[in-house]
Symmetry: C2
């Protein structure tokens, strides 16, 4: 019978809770919503509502059992699966991502690095050789990669996405400053540095305007 869909905003907070548990370490076997919220930067009632969607994992008068909660969050976020990740575009950004220790920490396997620049192809990053983009499809298939990270220039991004999708990748994280199209069955998320800076700029301008009268 249909599980009701989980709110997207709540899913986006689960990684914060998980990270907070890790930061707090093993000192206490339980944690209250107030404390978890303080560390995660989320209101305590929000924490409780979010966790209640995962089922009743708290104990009234006591709090949440840390180990149980950690496990539940891992499961909900699918971190037990060891998803395969490929990175396309190995400039400074792609290199930073390929070397990002968080990937391994959360159980992701980086199984392919791709570029089209002959000066980069063949180099090793984090123990993995950069391959030409032409070999992307065969690696995705062979290594069962499910996640693709786009760190190419904007002009190349849509082409790369189309190829990733065709090769079987079903989740894509886009760092290129471009709006990309994907089929409905594919999840696309965007990290848009340019937009973020412009939003900061807007706030600065507003504050300045307010101060000036």
């Amino acid at each position: 019978m249909g599980k009701r869909a989980l709110p997207a905003a709540m899913i986006a907070r689960l990684p914060l809770y998980l990270r907070s548990l890790d930061e707090l370490g093993q000192r206490n076997p339980t944690i209250s919503s107030v404390r978890l919220g303080a560390v995660a930067g989320v209101a305590a009632t929000q924490v409780r509502k979010d966790l209640s969607y995962l089922g009743s994992y708290g104990v009234r008068g006591v709090g949440y059992r840390v180990e149980e909660l950690r496990e539940r969050l891992h499961r909900e976020l699918g971190l037990t699966r060891g998803w395969g990740v490929v990175v396309v575009g190995i400039g400074n950004l792609g290199t930073a991502l390929a070397e990002y220790s968080g990937l391994r920490l959360w159980g992701f396997r980086v199984v392919g690095l791709f570029d089209v620049d002959p000066a980069r192809v063949g180099n090793k990053v984090n123990g993995l050789r950069i391959k030409h983009l032409d070999r992307m499809e065969s690696v995705v298939e062979h290594e069962q990669a499910e996640i693709g990270i786009i760190a190419t220039p904007a002009a190349a991004a849509q082409l790369v996405v189309d190829r990733l999708v065709k090769a079987g990748v079903r989740s894509i994280l886009n760092f290129a400053p471009a709006v990309l199209q994907v089929p409905r069955a594919v999840t696309l998320r965007r990290v848009d540095v340019s937009s973020e800076l412009q939003i900061l700029s807007h706030h600065l301008a507003r504050a300045a305007g307010r101060a000036a009268g």
Copy 2:
């Protein structure tokens, strides 16, 4: 006579509209909400509502005049001010950000790069010498930097933020996987790669679960 506050969600879309106008170039002097929405990946009625907050810049039966709209978006986003930006933590990510051409394109001035690693201090990135973090405060003051970008490890992030704020920076973009505290007058935004990947992982796990029954 207070200006009503603009919806945050709408502000976050303005950079997309601006980018879309640039992508479309000078071919047409006007653009309809349908077309702009298609390029920006936003519903046409959403485009109209968003732009209506900026005042009546459209012409019924015709569309929006591209040049006028571009200028209005620039103004609202404060891109005419040439804000000074400093980057702290010049690893691969910090280097990528320091070299990001989008910064100059939108009128930001990168005025300082800082690190604590002696192996990095003194090196040049994008024509700018990396300085030791100790000199951050004096550069922020001297160059009037208003925006700080954190690309340090998580453990150092709160310390760096505190120093940036004390030095006078009022907008901060945090790439470190940490929840940071700032005074209310400071705008803090977060780019959280680790969370994004975990959200993608969740969607993969859900899809797999659904397929399996």
